[in-house]
Subunit: 679 residues, 2 copies
């Protein structure tokens, strides 16, 4: 940035004038062509400076923290169409509308829509209540905590969220994450109170992270879990969750807190030798079959969509009645027993910010925040695209963050948008987030009135309800598609799957992230280089391997760098390849086969670092000593800027820089008899 050669100072204005004068002189075609040939290399050298490091950082912060108003135009929920100055009250309303989209669409909400939302909400509640109770047991919490999570968070989401279909509540994967990670810190069987405190604190952290991501517009963070990794992770988590259900399904009292397949199967095998109660298994399996049959019917006949949705509730009612009438709990059938009804109690006092596990809890909160967002936004986006509207990722994060912070203070653990319930909500014809409000009120009423009735509900039924939701998490077809299209993606998928299955949930995620990023690094540092040739009958130069029919230009060898960065990690092998090639080529005995020019096409190189520049200098030095000319074509904006800054252009001479490969070849062919100047 400090001392730069004079040609860098060319202003864009001057540059435009130069180019305009080129246009004026276009009288003679021949003259123009020659002119353009000389001119275009100058264009490369005289381009304005790209934004500096400071400007880039500033621009990034500005873009993320103060997004320009234009983006609001495209968001489905925004109503402001005129960019003119508005009075203060209008501004306040606009801000409020932006935070609470319900203020916008609520004005046009009609009774006809409410009818649909009421039906959807009731259907949702009938599926959500048994699911939530089951997930609470998966999270090693008392059943009422699952229901609490279906009251406060959906209410908050319904006023802040931008998705019309997303059904909020506890979900299987996050319940598993919470229980598997916090069980390592405090054993829920030994100290349930401390365990619960940590759960709420982790929920608070998860909400805070989500809110932060939304405020700082860090939506891209959830992209770092690649599609392939999520497929593998979800499938692995589904199997792990399924195995956890063996505890309830077999009526085992003492179970392991680990989640990997080996530990769980060992624990099951051990229990099978000592004490288990077949009645649980019979009960659970019968109702699992019942739920699966209703789902099959629902799929065959779209009008009966409500049947699979309410089958869990029917199962709960029927099984509870059976147990109550036969007093099966006295014959080993495990039942819920404890179920505290009433309003969500406050849990503000249970948040612990100075315990020994603060760092761990924050880490768990972070992982839960990412996984919860990933699931919710994936589900939300897929339904939004069916209905044809856009989901604003950053607003969704704000809504999720707010609902989880509020949830952590009202005895809920991390909630998010559930896939199975969102699908039911959509099938039931929901029109807006009002269906979430209806569900929340229904769950609230159940908490007030019905909890006593759930005393005799067998745990095996909850297990079968969870099991019935799992097949949706396993996507064989997608895994097969990944294998077919992209082996490395499949590896990331398999890594996540087996990591979750045989190690732990975090290890699985870590493996997937590492494979994804490792592949990215390998791709960008691969010292790739391809030889180009001329497509017959054109002035287009293409990769010889990709287009086997291309023709060589005698005396010219054209290489294209094949990686986005020419940097420390690949500069040295590329340099060696070119110099070795030059050394070997000069050993040819036939003088007409000698190469006189090496053209290095840099059009794919987006960035170069000091090692790359050093390598270019050494290549140039070596080639000069072998009497071979080096030409560089189509350096991108940042690359040519750095080459100028580092003084490389001064060293090799400006005549060696060309805009296109064709121009470099033409320049060489036309100067073959008179020499290529000082290049």
């Amino acid at each position: 940035m400090c001392v730069s050669p004079p040609y860098i100072r060319t202003s864009p204005k001057h540059f435009k004038e130069t180019m305009a004068s080129t246009d004026v002189e276009m009288s003679d075609l021949q003259q123009q062509e020659v002119h353009v040939k000389n001119q275009s290399a100058k264009w490369v050298l005289n381009s304005p400076d790209p934004p500096g490091f400071g400007q880039q950082i500033f621009g990034l912060i500005k873009k993320n923290v103060f997004p320009h108003r234009n983006s609001a135009r495209s968001s489905a929920s925004s109503s402001s169409s005129s960019p003119k100055k508005q009075p203060l009250s209008a501004n306040v309303i606009a801000v409020l509308t932006s935070i609470f989209p319900i203020l916008d669409w609520g004005r046009n909400y009609k009774a006809s829509k409410f009818k649909h939302d009421l039906i959807a909400g009731l259907t949702l509640a009938s599926l959500g209540i048994p699911q939530s109770i089951g997930y609470a047991s998966l999270a090693n919490l008392d059943p009422q905590y699952g229901l609490y999570g279906s009251v406060v968070p959906p209410l908050i989401y319904s006023v802040m969220g931008t998705s019309q279909e997303l059904a909020i509540g506890p979900v299987a994967v996050v319940s598993l994450l919470i229980s598997s990670m916090i069980s390592k810190l405090v054993d829920p069987a030994v100290d349930p109170v401390s365990y619960r405190k940590l759960v709420f604190t982790a929920t608070f952290f998860a909400g805070s992270f989500q809110l932060l991501f939304g405020l700082l517009r860090l939506g891209f963070l959830i992209d770092f879990l690649s599609h392939a990794a999520i497929v593998g992770f979800m499938a692995g988590a589904a199997i792990v969750i399924g195995l956890q259900q063996l505890k309830s399904l077999l009526g085992i009292s003492h179970f392991t807190t680990k989640t990997d397949v080996v530990s769980v199967l060992e624990a099951v095998a051990k229990s099978l030798h000592t004490s288990w109660y077949p009645l649980n298994f019979v009960l659970g399996c019968s109702f699992l079959i019942f739920i699966l049959i209703t789902r099959f019917i629902g799929k065959r006949n779209k009008k009966l969509f409500w049947l699979p949705a309410i089958s869990p509730v029917i199962s709960v009612i029927l099984s509870t009645l059976i147990v109550y009438l036969t007093r099966a709990d006295e014959h080993g059938v495990k039942i819920i027993k404890h179920f505290k009804g009433g309003l969500n109690p406050s849990s503000v006092n249970q948040l612990e910010f100075n315990g020994p596990y603060l760092g761990e809890t924050a880490k768990i909160g972070f992982i839960c925040a990412i996984i919860a967002l990933t699931e919710a936004i994936a589900v939300g986006r897929s339904f939004a695209s069916i209905k044809g509207y856009n989901l604003d990722g950053n607003k969704e994060m704000l809504a999720m963050g707010s609902m989880n912070i509020a949830g952590s203070m009202s005895s809920c653990y991390v909630t998010t948008g559930s896939f199975s319930r969102t699908a039911v909500n959509y099938s039931a014809g929901c029109q807006s987030t009002v269906s979430n409000i209806v569900m929340a009120i229904t769950v609230f009423l159940s908490l007030q009135l019905l909890t006593k009735l759930l005393y005799y509900t067998p745990l095996a039924i909850l297990a079968s309800i969870i099991l019935s939701a799992l097949p949706g998490l396993i996507d064989y077809n997608e895994a097969y598609h990944l294998w077919k299209v992209d082996k490395m993606d499949f590896l990331a998928c398999a890594g996540a799957f087996f990591g979750v299955l045989f190690a732990s949930v975090e290890i699985g995620l870590l493996v997937a992230v590492c494979v994804s990023f490792g592949r990215l690094i390998l791709n960008s540092i691969r010292p790739g280089m391809e030889e180009l040739g001329r497509l017959p009958g054109t002035d287009i130069f293409c990769d010889k391997a990709q287009y086997p029919g291309v023709l060589d230009v005698p005396g010219v060898c054209i290489f294209r760098l094949n990686s986005g960065s020419f940097c420390f990690a690949n500069a040295s092998p590329i340099k060696e390849r070119i110099t070795r090639w030059a050394t070997m080529e000069n050993e040819t005995d036939e003088p007409n086969k000698l190469t006189n020019v090496i053209i290095l096409d840099m059009s794919s190189v987006m960035s170069i670092d000091s090692s790359g520049i050093l390598a270019l200098e050494e290549i140039h030095k070596k080639l000069v000593s072998r009497n071979i000319h080096l030409a560089i074509t189509n350096p991108r904006w940042k690359v040519i800027h750095k080459l100028k800054l580092a003084g490389f252009v001064d060293k090799v001479g400006t005549d060696c820089i060309f805009l296109t490969v064709n121009e470099a070849v033409e320049a060489y062919l036309s100067s073959r008899s008179i020499g290529l100047g000082n290049c």
Copy 2:
């Protein structure tokens, strides 16, 4: 790989025939142009399959483990020029010559060369002996261990190495690395025997890793420490080493084992309050000034190159005499005292492969292996390029590995090529590695005869000899150059520097590697996209920002993806940007400003994953719903292959794929009146 559309099966042979037939029909220019236009899009689609995942892995292994013989032709030391079949004995000789290059150049070695090598070797020894003793004390070992390292390893290197100038022995940075990392496991002041065992074991591991790198041709591993990182690391290490010398220079008895600036300065400050001996300081500083003056003279007058080289030995002799005559050791001047002479003792029994620190020792060995190789190969290459021959990185690694494994069994710690001694070797006119043999013999003789005389050598002199070698490690100019050219490189450099200075040597390295790779990842996932326009008077399309004078094509919007990978990490923002742009554009009221075609130039995209393909599909769907055509130009080999595999090409239609942006624009312009077909 399984079920693929029929057009993929086109063989290269068929492809060439298609292209040959194109050449034949080139009678009418107009017809040919149209033909080429239609043809080139087909070329994109009908290219042969790129090598599969398995083939790539296999090729990589084959290339690394069984390098083709051609590469030997270029290596400076190889003599086999005819690739014909040779008898067995000749093959054996060739293999032996390849492992021991001395067999090759030794045959032409003449007495005239030996004269130069003798002088160089003696000069080297006079510099090396005091330096080695000093580095041994830096590594917390008794002085003789430094000399041992200048006997066995140089001998082995001289028969296996390919560099003519490299002077082998202990070096400052590796000594610091060894002592700082192993001191954390075992305190050398408390248990010197265990400490020494770990040092030899780490040396064994370092040698084994180097040998392994050489055998598996993993030379690229040392490239992962970027140039910038090394500049920062070396400068930080120099300052840390300098601070360590304060112990000897001030005659402090109790010193910290930590290496960071804060701890060391605290320890010094504490000692200054209690007990330190100014005589050490006076002695050390006087001789430091003497050495620096001789170096200044040597730089001014090239004929006196030997003066700075022997000044350390003169300092040692003079100071030893002074202390012996004045009995200054009774007045607080610290002297060497213990110095065991004789042949290198065997240390095979001291290698520990089942202690509690095995993993840690292997890790230390790995780090030392990398740092030692980095220094040696950087030094060797810079001198090789002065003399104009090539250094074979893999052979160097074999030589370094062998010499360190042998060293670990003969009481040496990690040795490598030293910068300061190699420079002296070069200035003294060395002709081959024989100078290393001369040095080794001289050091060996000194060990036999002179160690008793070194009893009174003051430690402060060793400190001043080490201090005098440090300025060469700090390269201000390069740091300034990095700041000017590349801010991120400077950040890696500064990270390594401050990491070494304020945390520890490993942390510094870790910071540098993380910054380098983090930048690489950021560069390759940046959701970059630039708008292109036509350069006036050409059919070249360029970035609007880089070439501000380019012209828009009415009705067409051309984007070029600006990152090497279109993958999970950047697919989503790019998709959003294009769809948002399409949404906003359709809100324009003027129908003639409407964009009808979006051209996506993929020429920079080297790889695509399943998330990228998904994003392309969604972009296509969105644009179709807005009545905008999507054209994809110049997909690279792997990209088009994956798009075909994933069925994307079938979905969007083959008419939307073009070889160049110009063709896509022409196709649109010519079909504007009659519609763009099904694209």
